[in-house]
Amino acid sequence: MNELALQAIIQHYRTSEEGLVEILREASRQAGYLTPEHLAFIAKALHLPQSQVHSVASFYSLISLKPLGRHVVRFCQDAPCHVVGGRAVWEAVQAALGIGVGETTPDGRWSLLTTSCIGACSVGPVMMVDDDIHGNLTPESVRDILARYDKIGGAA
């Protein structure tokens, strides 16, 4: 993300401390992740110490400081999904992508994360692929769903 795009996000929210959480989240969403340069730029624009910007950025789970793949899978690992068969589905997702939690595939296509409850418990187990929510998952259905987005390379 270039400085112009970042400046636009900062302008859209507030050029003060009050806007920090929202600026970081939105910038992270658009850029995929935030670099130290991004954080320094935001700190300067908001007249805040870089340490403070980093401390806020590292606190919230939707603000990423690490490169992520082109597609991000966020699997719900909370109890309501677990009770209705989430574990088998979780294993199937890891097998399909060939990576574990927090990892990105070597081809840069996929990152696998867990998410806290997304409030779709009545159709669990649930995962988010990018911005889409997929519910009623079974170990058999996840490969097809993932393949709709991009090539998957893991074991069948």
């Binding site: 009050e18 959480v21 929202e22 970081l24 806020v56 606190f59 789970s61 677990h82």
Partner: protein
């Protein structure tokens, strides 16, 4: 203008736009646009498993799994020729007949959800929307509003159950200025999605409630904090606030009363602890969402150190209805100390999952069996976990207990925001406790050492127990740690974090003991503690299990009994799934 028919389309499902467009264009083709209204609504017509759905009123016909071509057929057949299309209509599954739905439900907060178009303020106004605000601003003093709220007995629906009128009075009497009004829409409890559906389905009811509370408190600026995981709720709310401003229900001099109030949305960024009120206010300020000590309470020193009133979505959603219909109307249902209705999200091993709203005081049995339809596959009920990750597991012996704030607390659980996770005999209580501990351990903000370190230690012990490394004394260590964490933590997260573990130890101690002393998992869930075995009597030697085993743990000649080597077996369970004669059992 009145329409003779309305079509509501679930706009959440992928591809719904195309179906909506097809409805619209066919309606125009047949020149029905003056008679038939096409509306998009957000899901929640029932279990969201039926693809793109549409409801056609006044008949209330529910169509499911629609394509654009189906939409055209429906318009032509149902709305033009008056013949509902049976082929596309939803049929209740015959296999597991359910009792008639909603028998014990009373929908107040959810009354408009799924009925009105949340993107059109006029739909809300038609349901007496903003009437309560008009009445309050033109006919009532703040003290009269407080009096009515007191009569209603409404208690905070976010979990702690503090009477709403008392909170408002405290903020009202606080001398400092300016004052702020905050709505807590950071619904993060796993298994809870009541607030999401209210925000997506009836956002104005919350806005109206906030305006009324602001009038009482004396706040001119409000903040709506919504978690970023709810993008549809945020979109709906944004439109609703914009429309409320256009109609003059927000802004300057509302209803000519001289009262000013406006609202801003603040999105979270994925931190569960921000549902705690002091952490939430730090997050609005743009800081790390970490809780602080109370007192001072937000009513005295909240957002930017100013007096602030904070309630959750459901509390505000009840407010307008109370003031329109009167406190007595609200308190006519419920128990002595817990008045009114409450929404609950039912998830887990129950036939009818989803949202319900029932009078407080209904028994757990009524909620699970009458409203929830009973346990999936008619298995045996084991426990219900209420109140989210800080709640407890309630066993069968308390099924006839009424659901209210005090009763839940008396058995070691909480009302919380209203999530119910129902578990059957196949659920391992140690495994479940471990899951909740994993959640709070991950979400602990790290400020209080007992919570940060203690939850991790508890999780490690639980992992050991589930993986067969449990030691005598582990149960006592968990109890001791749990009590210290509760005593030594600042906010509700730490104070409640050990609840799932302590309550399962209290009611299911034998399961912990079986894991530790017998190295067995009674529910056959924990993989390290189970073993797949071939019954040599039943085995026909078809070799199917051996061929399907991913790690070649199964040996045996064709037509002879097979054997599973437990040292190689990874307990994936494929063998028992493929066995044609059910010769493989779990022990």
């Amino acid at each position: 203008m009145a329409y003779r028919a309305n079509i509501l389309i679930s706009s959440e499902a992928p591809g719904a736009d195309a179906v909506q467009a097809a409805f619209l264009s066919k309606v125009q083709d047949l020149q029905l646009e003056d008679e038939v209204q096409v509306l998009a609504t957000t899901a929640l017509m029932g279990a969201a498993t039926q693809g793109i759905e549409a409801l056609v009123y006044p008949e209330g016909t529910r169509y499911v799994n629609l394509t654009p071509a189906d939409a055209a057929t429906i318009v032509e057949e149902h709305l033009y020729k008056g013949r509902p299309v049976q082929r596309l209509a939803y049929v209740e599954p015959k296999v597991t007949p359910l009792p008639p739905p909603n028998t014990k439900e009373v929908r107040v907060v959810l009354g408009n959800v799924g009925k009105i178009n949340p993107f059109d303020i006029e739909d809300y106004i038609a349901e007496d929307g903003y009437m309560a605000l008009a009445k309050v601003l033109t006919e009532m003093t703040p003290d009269q509003v407080v009096e009515e709220m007191k009569k209603s007995g409404l208690r905070g629906r976010g979990g702690a159950g503090f009477p709403a009128y008392m909170k408002w009075t405290l903020a009202r009497n606080s001398p400092n200025k300016p004052k702020f009004l905050i709505c807590n829409g950071d619904e993060g409890d796993p298994g809870a999605f009541m607030n999401r559906s209210v925000l997506e389905g009836d956002p104005h009811s919350v806005i109206e409630g906030m305006a009324i509370a602001a009038y009482v408190v004396g706040a001119e600026q409000g903040y709506f904090y919504v978690r970023a995981e709810y993008p549809i709720a945020i979109r709906t709310l944004r439109v609703a606030i914009e429309q409320a401003r256009e109609y003059g229900f927000l802004g300057q001099n509302i209803f000519g009363s001289g009262f000013n109030f406006d609202l801003e949305i603040r999105m979270g960024a994925g931190a569960f602890v921000c549902g705690e009120e002091t952490a939430l206010m730090r997050s609005i300020e743009g800081k790390r969402g970490m809780p602080s000590t109370r007192p001072p309470f937000p009513a005295a020193s909240g957002l930017w150190g100013k007096p602030s009133n904070i309630n959750n979505v459901e509390t505000y959603a009840n407010t307008a209805k109370i003031l329109l219909k009167g406190g007595e109307w609200f308190s006519s249902v419920g128990t002595e100390k817990s008045k009114g209705t409450k929404t609950f999200a039912i998830a887990g091993k129950v036939k009818r999952t989803g949202l319900i709203e029932v009078p407080l005081g209904l028994t757990l049995r009524e909620v699970v069996y009458d409203v929830g339809g009973g346990i999936l596959n008619d298995k045996k009920f084991k426990a219900v976990q209420t109140g989210g990750p800080m709640g407890g597991c309630i066993p069968e012996q308390f099924l006839d207990m009424p659901v209210d704030y005090e009763s839940l607390a008396s058995v070691g659980s909480i009302m919380g925001s209203g999530g119910f996770v129902i578990m059957d005999e196949d659920t391992c209580m140690v495994d479940i406790a471990r899951f909740f501990m994993d959640f709070v351990q991950d979400e602990s903000c790290g400020k209080c050492v007992p919570c940060r370190v203690g939850t991790r230690r508890m999780l490690e012990i639980l992992n050991d127990i589930c993986e067969g490394r449990g030691q005598p004394g582990d149960i006592e260590r968990l109890e001791e740690l749990g009590k210290s964490i509760m005593r030594g933590s600042l906010c509700g997260l730490g104070q409640g974090a050990p609840n799932p573990v302590l309550s399962t130890i209290k009611y299911f101690r034998h399961e912990y003991e079986a894991h530790i002393y017998e190295k067995k998992c009674p529910a056959k869930v924990c993989r390290a503690l189970i073993e797949y075995k071939v019954n040599p009597e039943t085995c026909i030697g078809c070799t199917r299990c051996a061929r399907n085993c991913p790690v070649n743990a199964i040996s045996g000649k064709p037509k002879e009994a097979h054997y599973i080597d437990p040292s190689i077996c990874i307990r994936c369970g494929i063998c028992s799934q493929v066995c044609p004669v059910n010769a493989i059992s779990v022990e």
